[in-house]
Symmetry: C2
Subunit: 401 residues, 2 copies
Amino acid sequence: MYVSYLECPKCGANYESEKPIQLCQCGAPLLVRYDLKKVKKNFRKKALHTRKANLWRYWELLPVKKEENVVFLGEGMTPLLHLKNLGSKLGINNLYLKDEGLIPTGTFKARGAAVGVSRAKELGIKVLAMPTNGNAGGSWAAYCAKAGIKAVIVMPKDAPIINRKEVAVAGASLFLVNGLISDAGKIVGRAIAEYGWYDASTLKEPYRIEGKKTMGLEIAEQFGWEMPDVILYPTGGGVGIIGIYKGLKELQEIGWVSGKISRLVAVQSTGCAPIVKAWEERKTESVFWENARTIAFGLTVPKALGDFLVLEALYNTDGCAVAVEDDEILKAQHMLASREGVFVCPEGAATLSAAIKLARNGWIKHDERVVLLNTGTGLKYPETVKTEPPMLEPGDHLPRV
Amino acid sequence: MYVSYLECPKCGANYESEKPIQLCQCGAPLLVRYDLKKVKKNFRKKALHTRKANLWRYWELLPVKKEENVVFLGEGMTPLLHLKNLGSKLGINNLYLKDEGLIPTGTFKARGAAVGVSRAKELGIKVLAMPTNGNAGGSWAAYCAKAGIKAVIVMPKDAPIINRKEVAVAGASLFLVNGLISDAGKIVGRAIAEYGWYDASTLKEPYRIEGKKTMGLEIAEQFGWEMPDVILYPTGGGVGIIGIYKGLKELQEIGWVSGKISRLVAVQSTGCAPIVKAWEERKTESVFWENARTIAFGLTVPKALGDFLVLEALYNTDGCAVAVEDDEILKAQHMLASREGVFVCPEGAATLSAAIKLARNGWIKHDERVVLLNTGTGLKYPETVKTEPPMLEPGDHLPRV
């Protein structure tokens, strides 16, 4: 393993990585730092030729020490689809979609859970707890089931029903809260203080982000170790975009990619856009968003713990932040399904709405390589599609189409 | 392309493959035959090292001529998971699950649709129609959307709601029928005769099975080009098991695997078990199953067009057929999620119920390598999981777990 230490990106404090740890003493999330010089020396691209197509192929850039601790459900190396039909319609000639619907539990949250739970198992964790908007709970419950770790999951009552079901069937302890994820977080926080459970909340343990960063590593590999010009990411808690940025920077440092890092775009909903507001005001932190509400439920994060890291990633890559309306999201979801055959989640659809805006105002140029990050399958969101198909009786005739 | 001709497995008639064709004149399905001597000469295992981890890596054993006709959504090379927790509990030391939940549209039907629609596009098809129990409709609608082919889908009103949604969002023409898939089939049959549409019903075009057979090719590759001892397959229309058998035989013929083909097990529900009944009576065809009904909706196929091919595969591999109860299926689904972290569909869960039975009666030996084929994600079946989680108010406390 090439992990050197854990580092606080806010105050610069260092911590050793061999015992369970949560936040820095200053309250900020910790990042895993590797001995990248040693990685550069010992890890060659050609090693990948014989490794399986899952996220563990980047072993030297991951924080698990022993292979026996890996909790594997098939995560990673999701497809990168070339959206030729939509791209030509929209004037973005090189439009791609990274489809995180094809991953255990149906969302990108599986990456964080795979690496987070594997490392938790390695560190001897027996019980962990987390608040969730739904999908992270589903993923962590599944990986914990396989790992033999007890998971306590608290989610808003408005989270998608499917998330309750997947947490329950995995045998985790599930609680609903009559409020938002921030209310769930406070409940979990008190229980952790009282019972000494491991806190698996977003960014409150350092390893989830290491799983998420593999999206960045895969995108680079899938483009033949070149970085695309733009990556659009639906941003709730923001771990995905922080992870992609961290992953691409690490690839730069070990010399696997060169040139400018992709411009990162944080996409939010107009119903909850704290990062967009902060970015527009050139702030380094966001302000709690009151009365958050959007059909893209995963984006309902009024104030993210890692907001300053998201904003840093946007500023450092000449990226931007864009808010889109719920009705644009539903239109985009339908466009992706009916033109490209991909049924995406509302969060993923939001990235297409944002790309359309940015192509119209010239921020995205016609020949740039643009990646939409679809964070999950639309199969978890049946309520986003309205349909009333005609009912036939046996013996009835079909009309000509 | 290495396709030689299309062959009727019933009467032996041959057909050329370069124009659209449906059934043999004798009414039986047609199978694609390749020049396997030429494939053996020109296709080497090492060619796979540099090919992507999707089903198109077996290009020489697939029926599409031009790469530009491939309609790609990320299908294939789904994970093979070692079920160590359950295996040791059940006394099956080498128990595996091939997880077809991680594929476009969330079920194995994507394989048939990927190859079937790609070939339909190559043959110039503009409109196709099919009856479906739901998942095939979802898959074909998605691939047709990308291919620019108009799809007409007819499904029973009792098919899972999610299947309506995925067909509708893909822009296909969707109709419900107040009856079973056999009623839907008759409606589609009349429309096809009247309007001249392409008939994409199970086994009524020869290419869907070519997609399904890649499950067999992948299993062999994932076991290092050895065949496991037993493969359990949930059998409705039966194309999957026919395909796996065809794929493994082709691998034998090109010399990539040797020895005995895996014993194939057709798993059905006691609520619809025509294949099991025929196998128990050593018949070569099944009889229409009256009042078919099971929670594993995909198994509600009262009489499959390819029943004789399924039975042939069972007899020729020393396999068997097993029917399981709905309550066993739900128990197995819960076991897989809570012990192994995999939320499978009821049809997939049925294979675990069957494996438990076969291990108990000694048909499966302790050290045999056994593969459960999970045909789809449980995320499409939220109604199979009952849960009433406690509701907390902000400020409430969590109990100790």
